[in-house]
């Protein structure tokens, strides 16, 4: 199963901007975050094909997952 992972802002440091990943079977966004050692506490918006999702979202073939850092100041 191929999915595209897009990282933004500080998450790109030491990782990548866009990456096509292949997985056997099901995978959740939580597992993807663990795989790339992205700290959960810093995660803000998660999009899957442009829709807001949470950590438990399971990815399917050709999904595009975008991971943004938490932004809450003003």
């Amino acid at each position: 199963m191929k999915v595209t992972i897009k990282l933004f802002a500080s998450f790109r440091q030491g990782r990548f901007i866009v990456k096509e990943c292949e997985y056997e079977g099901k995978i959740s966004i939580l597992q993807v975050l663990h795989e790339f050692a992205i700290p959960l506490v810093g995660v803000g918006v998660l999009l899957c094909n442009g829709r807001h999702v949470d950590f438990d979202c399971e990815l399917v073939e050709d999904d595009v997952c975008s991971i943004f850092p938490k932004v809450g100041g003003g």
């Binding site: 802002a9 803000g44 807001h52 943004f68 938490k70 932004v71 809450g72 100041g73 003003g74």
Partner: protein, 277 residues
Amino acid sequence: MLEADLVAFLKTVVVKDNLIPLAAYESAADKFSVTFTKIEEIALVNGFYPMRYQRQRNLIRGRGQLQLLKSRVAVVGCGGLGGHIFEMLVRLGVGNLVVIDPDFFVESNLNRQLLATVATLGRYKVEVARERGEMINPVVAVEVLSQSFQSDRGAQLLSSCDLVFDALDSIPLRLQLADLCSSFEIVLIHGAVAGWYGQVAPVPPASGIMGQIYQNSGLESQNGRVAEEGGNLAPTVNLVAALEVATGLPYLLDDYQKKWSPGCFVDLLVPELELWS
């Protein structure tokens, strides 16, 4: 009749292209015992255009300027985002502004908060905003509240608004503001910053969008204040405030198409803007 007499007066003070200078408002107010707001409303209805909005005339037009004049908009938070949002709304000519913030200026605000100066340290932010509004655009009515938006008076003020801008620095408070705006069926324009990054999204009433935006952001700290964590920069607050105002304006103007834009994330280091779509 007031309107006819006022229109006759305006014709004597108009400069080229039907522009009315602000200096004429004092004379008109004295002569006809009316407010600046009324003068401006009658001027716009009758095809005149306030000179101070000359540069936005082709973009906002008379009908739009009148809509702005009659709009009532709240800015919740008067710090980094709020100060800039407030200033832009004043300059645009939004006729009635409500500014809510219980805080006063401290030294660490000086790096990014428009209304923070050495002279205003220690003063309530909303009081400084009121003065600033008067200096820039005396036609805009500014009502301020130096309490939380969750106070009885805060909720009352918000309930009468056409649009609300999120300029808070706390995630839990943002979620509560979104709930309150939903209960009043008012569109909320969300904005937030962190270091070089920011995000903006319109939050229609009952959409649940604010909850979706922050569903992965555990409420780790008691009040969720995030300014101290990653820090904040002047260019980031400037840009995100401008995006919030640009996102919100179509909701006040019939001539601009209202579509529920999905929101966006900005990274000033690249620089890059990513639409959430």
